[in-house]
Each structure stands twice: as structure tokens, then as C-alpha cells.
Symmetry: C2
Subunit: 465 residues, 2 copies
């Protein structure tokens, strides 16, 4: 795990002492948001902001916010997408984060390092239309020729000898690069803190160390016959059954499920599809010592005002290099598509998912050190794993309603990137239903129903790591 | 189970005796089709027909064909769909089946009883556009007014007193009906036998009682380093690991996965999404005694030339009534949407899935006996359960390629209805890849890529039971 888990108890349910009548009082809310990952937090924040009179509760099984996959991710953001929907969701979220940091003066740890997508010679034709699409959409990108790249990033191998290693690893000579400017990194803990603090200051409630065991589903008119709801009754999700810090039933007029990689866990037993599958993803930390080749690579000044290398994506296997300025390190990851099992319902204990030293050694390192030989004799000092919840069909998130609940999931590795927009959409759906027009930051309308599964109408994303 | 399972050993692998060299010989095929359900059989049949020189093997873990969900289904077919894609897939398949029965003279047990969709008064506006769409597509449908319906089907309650039962069950008065003419039932065993026999006569091979444990995935160029394929290698599915009647590896140039409700079982461990979820569905058999009200209902002569009631779908909960002429019975089912759990990977032993007497009693019977009071004091004489593999997004099937394998799944309860078209599409994809133009019966082109997930381009189905 990236940070040692701190068992910080946040604001718990008001007066929730067993045996007193106040338990029952405290256990009825207008809205319960399940999941204090970045999307749950954004949803709760926007819901509370738009509905100041409503009593809203966030529940999470971990001891603090954003400690599962939000906290284990590479925490990068980008607006370089081919899908017009993805562009809107990401670009407006990034604008909101920039506004929080620069106008409200609340540090989110944003560093606009940029994304540098290295493109193989033989990929140029394939990616051309995608890049044109981004340019048409007004995304700020620069294209670099191999020659320019050699000047900007002399450490990069762009041309290989056609030797056995080249053939075995199926390397590609570099044919150019795409640089996304409004892309970078942020600190997920700071972003989580921002949303949570604002939510709590607006009167929101949170209950950590509280596990949702199941969704409570009831007919609109109970007959007391057992096994209700029957198929001919109107079924509604009326709350959640919890254990841990708080025990028993918590009832709510509306339940919002923002459970990320665990979307299927609560939904499937109720006959609702979460529409996602999950894969383990790993990150490997490489320390950078002073006055080394890696240090020169990290403190490259050619691309951005942050004085460090951009986030670099190699043309092969989606292997990427994240520069970490303050930590003087790189984090290395890989897309790891085929032959990495899909998980339908992940284990709740994130410790189950271990990074594998051998994975770095045999899968990542050969390719990484071919393109960036500075990594040649270097081993990771740390590693961790997280879970990647994917909508495997179009790579865009889902927001839909079922039995009165609102489900948001399937962000496909871009939870942080799109959290603000998704929170606004959830809030709009709460107010006006699945056909709501949400207002993305600062004032951009978006039809929520496009992200539903019943009336899905999104452009599939083609620019995926 | 509908029929007692007969342990009939079909044609097994040639000379597959352990310890002799012929094992290895027999264990290499051009194509291995996993799954002898109706879609696997149709795929194998069309593949063998189009590729007479190729050595093709069907594998199934059960002792004979179509014994899992093909055999447990209601075995009804219809072309009444709103999606133009669904119409093509079903209509051309039905035409093929009709041709086999009427032109080739091979009995498939087809009875064109028709589908009678009863429509609630308050549903008329909602379904109007769907019906217009069917008419525009040239689907032969008749619309009946409530008055006509009373003449044709006097046993049906069309108008209820607004009493407590009416309100509790949320019944609707009948506002009319839609009758689909080119719809009916067939015998899945006869259809399975047709495909299998033709396949075997054309030189095909089959191995029953053989369970596929896993897909074998290998890099195109093996390095012998263990844990291959690495991410930088080209991974290919090169065969299957089996146990049971045959043990060990069976290798093939192309593996076709037609594993129906079990799509995720073999795919997910390899990091491939089957894109489906599964629900248990139940059927309840009601015996019809001579000279009873139920007997008059069954032998209704007003709708078709078969001299029996059509397949009737009630306006509430997708409860349906299948007439069985030879068995003098009705089979009753229900769509059972919310609060019936989704299963990601079902147990292989179908006996795990039991029908529930109480389900009939509390969920189906109250509604059924309100619309058709002849069922009032009647209890089921038999019941069984099957599995329904659904694409929960658009309700259409998937055909896609991954790592050299061809996957067909997600038929969403219409495996029999679309088996012939899907077999032809699989065969076209084998020949020309995912972008193939398949030829549906008798001569209708269909772009296979529309059913892929990468370039999916289908109309979502709105007319679902």
C-alpha cells in the first residue's frame, strides 16, 4: 500500500449508541452513498450542495476516505480521449480541480506534467484519425517528430538495431509522440479531503469502518407474507444492512452505489448487473538517486513548467512511467490485458491483491529498459496492487437507476479523472431522474441518460491505456 | 429435467486410447467447438459445411447434445423483435428451420402456434411505437382489440373489478393484443439431432462427457522461460485442457467458444470478458385433463392451424403460458427480473438449479389465475430450472474474436431462435475475421462486426420477455 493506513475515525453517525432510541433516529437518511472512494465523495458533495436540507450519509468499510483503489491508483488525469463523452467528463472535471487549486486556493497537489504518448513507427497510420479527432474537439495536444523527440528527451531509444532482442520483444522504432498538455497528476488524498470536508461542513454525515452487507429491497406496499417483494410488486431499494462500527439497517429514500470495483458485490444478489469486470493492476516504485542517469531523466525540463518528465506511455503493452518529483521516484505500470484474470467480485481486503516482483522483471523491465536504458540495472524499491473496474464494451462509465437506487460505476480506470463530472451527474439524476440534464463544470449541459444502460448513447473510447 | 438423460455415447475421438501414439494424432484439430448446445452445434455444422477439408471437433461435458439450457428452455421461437438486428437473426433462422422441416422433410417438431402478447390498457401508448417498428420491418403481426380478443379467447379475463386483489396485484385491464404469426415452438432435441447428424455425416467429430478445464494460451514464439505469454508476446489460444472421457490437451488452430451460460467460466481466467450475466429461470408444468376448462383453453382453434392456444404472454411480469399439444399440458414461466440473483459463473451441474414450488405459488399463480381463472385450483405436476445468459446492455448476442478464438454468447434467452444465423456468422468470422460479411439463410448479408464488442453496432432490443 502506498501510504500506511491511518486509523483515523472521521465523523460517525450522530449518537449511534446501541440500546438507545437514537439509533433508530440516526438510521434514517434522505440519501445514503455507499463508497467513500473519489466518486462516492464527489457524488455526496454535489448531492449535499444541491440539496442542503437533505440528510446525507456516506458509508465505507475502510477507516478513511479514498483508501482502496482511488488511493492505490497512479492518480494521473488526462483529457486526451477520442470519445466526445469522455472528453467532456474529463475536461470539465479537470477544470473544476484546477479551479479548486488555483481560484479557491485549496491545494490538490496538481502537477501539470503532461502525458507523452510515444508512438511506434507502424502505429502512426492507426492513431492518426484518433489524434485528428482530439484536435477537432479542441484538446490541446502537441505532436512531436522523432527528431524533435530526440532533442527533448535524449534518453529515449528511438531507433533499434534489428537484432534478436528487438525481434523477440517485438519492439517498434519510435515514429513520433503526442503530448497532452492539460494532463498531469494530483494527490488523491487531498482531493478526497476537499470533497469530504466540504460535504461535512455542509451538514453531511459519514460512517467509516462500516461494511454494507446487502441492499434492502422491499415492495412499495408490504403485505407481510414473507419472501416479498413478489414479481408482481413494485420493488424498491430502501436502505442497506450494515456491520462494523454501525450495525443493523440504515434506511434511506435513495441509495447511491459508488462502490467502484465492487459494483457487482451488492448489485448481483439483487439481480442487477454492475456491467463491469475487474482486473488487478500493479505499480512498481523506482527510487531515483542524485546525479544518476535516472535523475537526469526525472528532472527533464523540456516539456512542462513542473520541471519534471511528463507521464510517458511506451508504444508497447501500455507500459507507463509516472514521474514523482517530491518522492524523487518513478512509478511504473502496465496495461496487462490478455491472460490476467478478470475478477467478478473482488475480495474486500485489498491486501489480497499483491504486486508480483516477477511481473516487473519478466514483463515490464525488458521493454522499459529497451526504450529507456537508464532503468537497465534498477530494481523496484516498493510495489503495490490495486483494482481496475472496467466497462469492457465502451470503456465509459455507467450511471443508471434501478429500483430507486442510483448506480455509478465502470469508470474504467479514470475514476479520479471524471469524479467531479460523475458526481454532478449523480446529483442531477437524483433530482430529475435518468433523463436529467446535468450541469458539468462550469456550465456545460450533459444528458445523464447517455450513461445509462437502457438508453446508452456514448462514443466508445479508442485511446485506452 | 424435462427428459431423463440418456447416456448415449455419440461418436468419440478416433482411436483415443491412452498410451498409444494415436492419442497425440487425434488431439490436433483444425477447429475445436466447445459446447454442444444449439449454438455450438449450428456453428460446427456451418463450419464443417463451409470447410469440408477441415478436421472439426465438438466437445461437451454432458453425455449428449443440447442437454443443458437448450434442452431446459421453453423452446419457443419468434421473429417479433423491435431491433432490426434481432429480426434478421431470428427471421432467417426460422426460415432455415422451416425449410429443413418442410423442404428437406426432416421433422424438427415445429408448431406455428403464434405468440399472443396481451397488452395492458395503460401499456398501449408505450408499445405503440414498438409495434409500428415491427410492421415497418415487415414482420407479420396482427393486432387484436379487446373485443376481438373476447371472441377469440373467451377464457381470458380482460376487465377486472377494482377490488383489493386488483390493486394489490397491480393488475391491468387488457387493452388489446399483438399476435406474431411466424412464431411457435420446436423440439430442441430434433433440431440438435439434425445439426449433429449432418455435422458427423460431413466428417465432424464429437467428444461428449469431456469437460474443458481451461483454455490453453501460448505465445506465438515460445521461449521456454515459464509464465509465458509475457505482455510483450503475441498471445494465442491454441487449444483446450480437458478431463473426463478424454484427458489432457486438445490443440486446434481455432477454438470456438459456444458455452452459453458458462461463457465467463473459460474466458475470465484468461482476462477476456464474456459480457454476460446469468439468471435462473423456472418452468412449471400443468397437466391438462380431458373435458376441463383447461382442456378447452389448450385446444383453442381460433389463432392457428395447429389447433391449440398460441404462446400467451400476460401483460404483467412477463408471465407466459406455453401450450404443449402432444403432452396435453401447459408450461408456465416468468421473466423474474429484480431480486433474482445474477450468477457470474454457474455451477456446471445443472441439478444445482432447482425450481421452487413456492415461486409458482406466490409469484406466478396469483397473476396467472387472475387473467386465466382456469388455472385457479391447479398445481404443477412437474417443474425444472434452466439458466438464462443475458447481455444486459442491449439483449443481443455477441460474436467476437480474441487471441485467435471465436466467442459466441449472450443470446439472451434466444439461443434456439437465432442459432442458425449465429452459426453462419461464426463460420464467416472463421473464414474472414471479425469484419466478415456472413450470409444468413437463404442469402442475406450481415456484417459480423456489428455483433463484436469492439465495433458493436446493433439496435437494442425493446421487446423482451
Amino acid at each position: 500500500m502506498r501510504n500506511a493506513v491511518q486509523f483515523r475515525r472521521c465523523v460517525l453517525l450522530d449518537s449511534c449508541h446501541k440500546g438507545s432510541e437514537s439509533i433508530m433516529m440516526a438510521k434514517k437518511f434522505d440519501i445514503v452513498v455507499v463508497g467513500a472512494g473519489i466518486i462516492g465523495l464527489s457524488s455526496a458533495y454535489h448531492l449535499q450542495k444541491s440539496n442542503p436540507d437533505k440528510k446525507i450519509l456516506i458509508i465505507d468499510r475502510l477507516p478513511k476516505a479514498a483508501q482502496a483503489n482511488s488511493g492505490r491508483s497512479a492518480a494521473m488525469f488526462r483529457n486526451t480521449f477520442t470519445s466526445a463523452d469522455n472528453l467532456l467528463l474529463s475536461d470539465t472535471s479537470i477544470n473544476f480541480y484546477l479551479n479548486v487549486q488555483h481560484e479557491l486556493g485549496i491545494d490538490l497537489g496538481i502537477q501539470l506534467v503532461g502525458y507523452l504518448w510515444l508512438i511506434g513507427e507502424n502505429q502512426i497510420d492507426r492513431v492518426g484519425p484518433h489524434i485528428r479527432r482530439m484536435v477537432e474537439h479542441g484538446i490541446v495536444v502537441k505532436q512531436y517528430s522523432t527528431r524533435e523527440l530526440r532533442d527533448l528527451l535524449p534518453e529515449l531509444m528511438t531507433q533499434f538495431e534489428q537484432d534478436e532482442e528487438f525481434r523477440t520483444l517485438k519492439l517498434m522504432n519510435i515514429g513520433g509522440a503526442l503530448f497532452g498538455q492539460k494532463c498531469g497528476s494530483l494527490d488523491p488524498d487531498l482531493l478526497a479531503d476537499f470533497y469530504l470536508k466540504e460535504f461535512l461542513n455542509s451538514g453531511g454525515h459519514v460512517s467509516f469502518n462500516t461494511n454494507v452487507e446487502k441492499l434492502i429491497i422491499e415492495p412499495d406496499e408490504k403485505l407481510g407474507m414473507g419472501d416479498e417483494p413478489f414479481v408482481w410488486q413494485e420493488a424498491k431499494i430502501v436502505g442497506v444492512q450494515v456491520s462494523g462500527e454501525v450495525e443493523g439497517e440504515i434506511r434511506a429514500d435513495t441509495v447511491v452505489l459508488a462502490t467502484g470495483a465492487w459494483a457487482n458485490e451488492l448489485l448481483e444478489p439483487r439481480g442487477i448487473d454492475g456491467h463491469i469486470k475487474v482486473k488487478k493492476r500493479q505499480l512498481f516504485k523506482i527510487d531515483v538517486k542524485e546525479n544518476t542517469a535516472l535523475s537526469s531523466l526525472l528532472f527533464n525540463k523540456s516539456f512542462n513548467n513542473e520541471g519534471i518528465l511528463p507521464f510517458v506511455i511506451l508504444p508497447k503493452c501500455g507500459i507507463y512511467v509516472k514521474p514523482v518529483r517530491e518522492g524523487r521516484s518513478f512509478w511504473i505500470g502496465c496495461e496487462d490485458e490478455i491472460n490476467r484474470e478478470f475478477i467478478n467480485i473482488p475480495d474486500a481486503r485489498m491486501e489480497t491483491y499483491q504486486a508480483e516482483k516477477k511481473y516487473y522483471e519478466f514483463n515490464i523491465h525488458p521493454v522499459l529498459s529497451s526504450y529507456l536504458p537508464q532503468f537497465k540495472d534498477i530494481k523496484p524499491s516498493n510495489m503495490w496492487a490495486g483494482l481496475y473496474g472496467i466497462n469492457t464494451v465502451d470503456f465509459l462509465p455507467y450511471v443508471f437507476t434501478e429500483c430507486g437506487a442510483i448506480v455509478v460505476c465502470g469508470d474504467s480506470g479514470s475514476g479520479i479523472i471524471k469524479a467531479d463530472a460523475l458526481g454532478r451527474i449523480v446529483s442531477a439524476v437524483y433530482k430529475d431522474g435518468e433523463h436529467a440534464i446535468a450541469t458539468l463544470y462550469p456550465n456545460i449541459p450533459y444528458e445523464a441518460t447517455k450513461l445509462s444502460y437502457k438508453h446508452r448513447d456514448v462514443e466508445r473510447e479508442e485511446w485506452v491505456i
